[in-house]
Assembly symmetry: C2
Homo-oligomer: 156 residues x 2
């Protein structure tokens, strides 16, 4: 199954925001992203993993770095409405992605991408995928090294 | 910023596997997806959120339902090597996605998608995005309702 990786992309102007301890019941994500959308805050990556206890979950999303503080402020203002434990932000991240066509079997592409990052001792902070893209959040200062290594790994 | 949602897609033949308590240090995701890839297990969606304590993280991925038990077996065999707390599986999920072009501001698309699901009291189990796609994992028996509602919401 030849995966066709066609490019590596990255952003260095995003910040990540994680809302921890949101109720894992219908309507919560709708409320959160409704509030962000209504405040005209653009969101790029959204990652939410399965809740461990079935009661509370965590959601991470990225915004333009310049909108990070506003987004956090707006969410804090709505703390009682949303009902979350805390918000953590990190502007020292970058999103690095491997883009391809026909990546029906992500595991092969993921293996190579994650191995390239592991070889550079780069810690993967978050992962989000679609059929044509695997994106990871990593420490921003490792971006150039990561991108260079990925170009080598995929012979691009 | 008109988001151009062009379609709704879904899969009903995938199962989700969550590996909880994996060390949050370089090389772990590489090891996990290396093992899966080497066993020829195809992976579709991968979701990993930021680790809460900086020590342990959780990763969720989907496989073809018929490969779920094999994938779990292989990971359990490698328990000491990977060093994780536990593996949980769920075959009663489906992946529902909103596909679009120019979804530069995901929050607007996410707001509408999540609201449609919330109106049907459908719980969002996991979220993964790319610029052209927002995917969620939901309870499989709600799939048809969800897809129908999304087609209405986006006038498709
Ligand atoms: C955690 C959050 O996604 C919740 N499950 C919801 O459906 O809104
Ligand atoms: C949790 C896992 O993704 C780890 N951070 C790694 O880089 O492999």
């Amino acid at each position: 199954e030849k995966e066709m990786v066609t490019g590596i992309s990255y952003t260095k102007n995003e910040a990540k925001i994680t809302i921890s301890g949101i109720p894992d019941k219908p309507g919560v994500s709708s409320l959160i992203f409704g509030i962000l959308s209504d405040s005209n805050i653009n969101v790029d990556m959204i990652v939410q993993n399965i809740s461990q206890d079935g009661l509370r979950a965590n959601v991470t999303f990225t915004v333009q770095e310049r909108e990070m503080n506003l987004a956090k402020k707006i969410l804090e203002k709505n703390r009682d409405l949303i009902d979350f434990h805390y918000i953590s932000t990190n502007a020292d991240v970058s999103k690095v992605s491997v883009i391809g066509v026909g990546m029906k079997s992500q595991s092969g592409v993921a293996k190579k991408m994650f191995k390239a990052l592991a070889d550079l001792k780069i810690n993967i902070l978050a992962i989000s995928t679609s059929e044509i893209k695997i994106s990871v959040l990593i420490n921003r200062k490792m971006t150039n090294k990561a991108v260079k290594k990925l170009h080598k790994a995929y012979v691009l």
